[in-house]
């Protein structure tokens, strides 16, 4: 049956022609985020030279400030690559910070951490179950959950901040350093590393992408797409709850406002990073750079002395520009 004399696979590229071919095929749109990152970085480095943009302290600050968004966005990458959305991550982080703080002051550090994770587990499972078992669109489910989580957080605390006096907790989650390296940087590095490897190098990651790319074909191929959808929303909830604890540790308190609005920053980071809004393709490393780019812009605009209303306008414009450049033609 295969006696046709066609060459079936192009020879592996080699030599000069290959180099040219390689560049010819290089789709620069896929690398817009990295190019954009470098351009914006260079721009601020020159423009804000005298405001200390390049000082090690300021650069570490950028990492520190984007750490929670980065962590949330890693979970969001899975959700979006699977052609779903999770709008409840910000308020889940808030609820998690509150529950952690309350449990911590009552029963100590371990129960505190478990309480935070339990928030993610419950929120993620409920989101996942409603989406995968009842087939309700994730947009609606998580929009509802956004309100519920923040409402519960406000309710059980009567809107009052819950201080965390446990130094160990605060050290681990956010305020402390591991040697010379800020703890928050380590946290985001760990999440990005695990997230990147799992998405691109494991069976689960492949199945997430296939489910997002074409659910029917994935079903026909024997992938349990309901379970995959459940799992990505569960992951997103759990990851958001860890982000909530990072807020709690860094700001030494639990508060329902922590994380408010983060869902939008996280979604922007994910899309900037090259993950398809329609599912089927995703890159966790891209997401990291998406988050860093947003952090970079925030930081630069503050140093440049823009007030917060101006910051919002410029930030929005830059995000639209980047996404427009990165879109498929």
């Amino acid at each position: 049956m295969n006696n046709r004399t066609i060459s079936t696979i192009a020879p592996e590229p080699g030599g000069l022609a290959a180099v040219r071919g390689w560049f010819g095929e290089l789709d620069w749109r896929r690398y817009v985020i990295y190019i954009g990152f470098v351009v914006v970085f260079a721009f601020f480095a020159v423009l804000l030279r005298d405001q200390g943009f390049l000082s090690p302290n300021n650069l570490l600050n950028i990492f520190r400030q984007t750490a929670t968004i980065t962590v949330i966005a890693v979970g969001m990458t899975y959700v979006i690559a699977c052609a779903e959305i999770d709008l409840s991550v910000g308020s889940t982080a808030g609820l998690s910070s509150v529950c952690t703080a309350m449990a911590l002051s009552q029963w100590g550090i371990i129960p505190g951490i478990l309480a935070g994770l339990a928030v993610g587990l419950v929120v993620g499972s409920v989101n996942g179950a409603l989406v995968s078992l009842l087939g309700i669109p994730s947009f609606l489910v998580t929009l509802g959950m956004l309100g519920i989580a923040v409402g519960v957080a406000q309710w059980i605390t009567a809107s009052a901040p819950q201080p965390i006096l446990n130094d160990t907790f605060n050290m681990i989650f956010g305020s402390g350093n591991f040697g010379p390296v800020p703890g928050l940087l380590v946290w985001s590095a760990v999440f990005v590393a695990i997230g990147a490897v799992v998405l691109s190098r494991t069976k689960f990651g492949r199945q997430v992408l296939a489910t997002g790319g074409n659910r029917t074909a994935a079903d026909f191929t024997g992938i349990n797409t309901k379970r995959i959808k459940f799992q990505v929303l569960l992951i997103s909830g759990l990851v958001a709850s860890v982000a909530g604890m990072l807020y709690a540790g860094r700001l030494e308190s639990g508060r329902f406002q922590w994380g408010a609005g983060d869902e939008l920053s996280a979604i922007a980071a994910v899309i900037l990073g090259g993950t398809s809004l329609f599912g089927g393709a995703g890159s966790v490393v891209g997401t990291l750079f998406g988050a860093l780019l947003i952090g970079l812009i925030n930081n630069g605009l503050i140093l440049a002395g823009l007030d917060s209303s101006q910051q919002q306008v410029v930030r929005g414009a830059i995000i639209i520009l980047a996404v427009a450049l990165a879109r498929k033609k």
């Binding site: 295969n2 079936t8 696979i9 095929e25 190098r201 074409n214 026909f220 191929t221 024997g222 089927g280």
Partner: protein, 502 residues
């Protein structure tokens, strides 16, 4: 009417994608009032040539002449303006709108107030259908109509925009027999009114039935343009494939007597919804079982039940004599089944993913090393599948979307045969596949059965069904009405009679 007058002419058209030439200096000419068949293997460039005529792609060099005058076609609007319309392979209708709204989409008749005049649209749609001599209610919502009507609506849409040249790209792929007949009658009538039709199809019988002339493309070059009365089917096939094909499309008695082998799959009283009713049969290893029936007779639904996609209301499935609980595709795969689904674009492939990723999707366990996937092993496995099934790809990392129809189908086949199933169910395995690939696929099916695998083949093409099946089950309204050994079927005609229940 002067039929030798040229309607459209394409002169030395060349087109490349990313430096790879897909069309080389192709000349193509269509006269008014003729049906011109455009033939060629998968990936020969037929669709690309038509997309250039249609304004979807722009040619790299060459010229297009309409009615003798050179024209620039840079968009679908330009093509419409010069009277070229297309019946898309993937339909371009909006399902939630009515037939009339679709026909006049973007060119809605307006009243004096500037608002859309729906009554007028309905009236004019009726006129178009009356000219086509077919009955379709312009006020019906498109989503409520069957595929055949979608196509008629597409044609009406083109005619309403005064198309003089209609391009039909594999229009009968999803039509039942009598719908195909109706379409061909319509083509005849359009032809009489001086409308030219460019007809792309892989089915030789259809080409002979309706076309006046044929142009064959091979590897992006024009091989010949001839009047059909001057070429034999053998010449055409040889032109398309590039070599002679013998015997693949006729039944070959295979060595083993399959029916005496151990049964591998047994269906007992399978019932599911309204489309599968009390179906029982036995499948032996080494046997090829054909399923024949009209559209809607429940063949696809039976395949879906066997593969665990649709739930069973009652009945049981036995694999090697023990009852199997096939409640989802995962269990079916574990039980050694594989299903090549009917719609490869929707059910078989993740179109935006690479050929490699698609091939490996059911095989992830095979390339796992601990919790991680072994990229090198994946490359090796996918390359060997590509080689084995002679899939023509520029690079395994390219999206499968860019492959031609036949090569996409080979990817689906390769993907499933990589799982080494015991029972293979193929639903319309050669739809949209060129005649060379078709004979390869049929040979492959026989080869698999010879190695002791059991195969179920669903096909609306009787010659193909008769070419491979050792036994044929005829389905009607979800139940088996006849069971015929291959030697009980004299020819295509008698199978067709059996299917129609005569």
């Amino acid at each position: 009417m002067n039929t030798s007058e040229t309607a459209v002419e394409m002169r030395s058209i060349s087109k490349g994608f990313n430096g790879v030439n897909v069309l080389n200096d192709v000349d193509f000419e269509v006269r008014s009032g003729e049906v011109h068949a455009l033939a060629g293997g998968n990936g020969a460039g037929k669709s690309t040539l038509m997309k250039i005529l249609q304004g979807v792609y722009q040619t790299d060099s060459g010229a297009i002449l309409v009615g003798g005058r050179p024209v620039q076609i840079n968009s679908i609007q330009d093509a419409k303006a010069v009277g070229i319309g297309m019946v898309f392979q993937e339909f371009s209708l909006v399902p939630s709108l009515t037939v009339a709204q679709n026909i006049f989409l973007g060119a809605e008749p307006q009243g004096r107030s500037g608002l859309i005049n729906d009554k007028e649209a309905v009236r004019r749609a009726r006129e178009v259908f009356a000219e086509m001599e077919i009955v379709v209610d312009p006020r019906a919502q498109v989503s409520a109509l069957g595929t055949a009507y979608w196509q008629l609506t597409e044609i009406a849409k083109a005619l309403a925009q005064n198309a003089r040249v209609l391009i039909m790209d594999e229009p009968t792929a999803s039509l039942a027999r009598h719908e195909t007949d109706a379409l061909f009658d319509l083509v005849e009538r359009l032809k009489k009114r001086g409308i030219s039709i460019i007809y792309i199809s892989h089915r030789m019988d259809e080409v002979y039935r309706i076309a006046d002339r044929i142009t064959i493309l091979r590897d992006g070059r024009r091989l010949l343009t001839e009047s059909l009365s001057d070429v034999t089917p053998e010449q055409i096939v040889e032109g398309i494939v590039g070599k002679k094909i013998e015997g693949q499309l006729s039944y070959q008695q295979r060595g083993r007597d399959a029916a005496s082998a151990a049964p591998i799959l047994e269906a007992r009283g399978l019932t599911s919804g309204k489309r599968v009713r009390d179906v029982s049969f036995t499948l032996h290893s080494g046997e090829i079982l054909g399923l024949a029936g009209l559209m809607g007779s429940g063949r696809t639904e039976l395949a879906r039940v066997l593969f665990g996609i649709d739930p069973l209301d009652s009945g049981e499935i036995l694999i090697r004599g023990t009852k199997a609980q096939i409640t989802n595709p995962r269990r079916a795969i574990a039980a050694g089944l594989a299903l090549i689904p009917e719609d490869r674009r929707d059910q078989g492939l993740v179109l935006d993913h690479s050929v490699r990723d698609n091939l490996l999707l059911p095989l992830l366990d095979k390339i796992a090393r601990g919790p991680l996937l072994d990229a090198a092993a994946g490359r090796k496995l996918s390359n060997s599948l590509i080689q084995k099934f002679a899939v023509k790809v520029a690079h395994p990392n390219k999206p499968v979307r860019l492959l031609s129809g036949g090569n996409q189908q080979k990817v689906v086949l390769a993907k499933w045969l990589g799982t080494e199933p015991d029972v293979l169910i193929l639903d319309e395995p050669t739809a949209g596949v060129d005649i060379g690939t078709k004979s390869e696929i049929l040979a492959m099916i026989r080869e698999l059965a010879d190695t002791g695998k059991a195969v179920i083949v669903i096909s609306s093409e009787y010659p193909e069904l008769l070419a491979v099946s050792d036994r044929v089950l005829v389905l009607r309204d979800g139940s088996i009405t006849r069971e015929l050994g291959r030697n009980e079927i004299a020819d295509e005609e008698s199978l067709q009679l059996a299917v129609q229940g005569v």
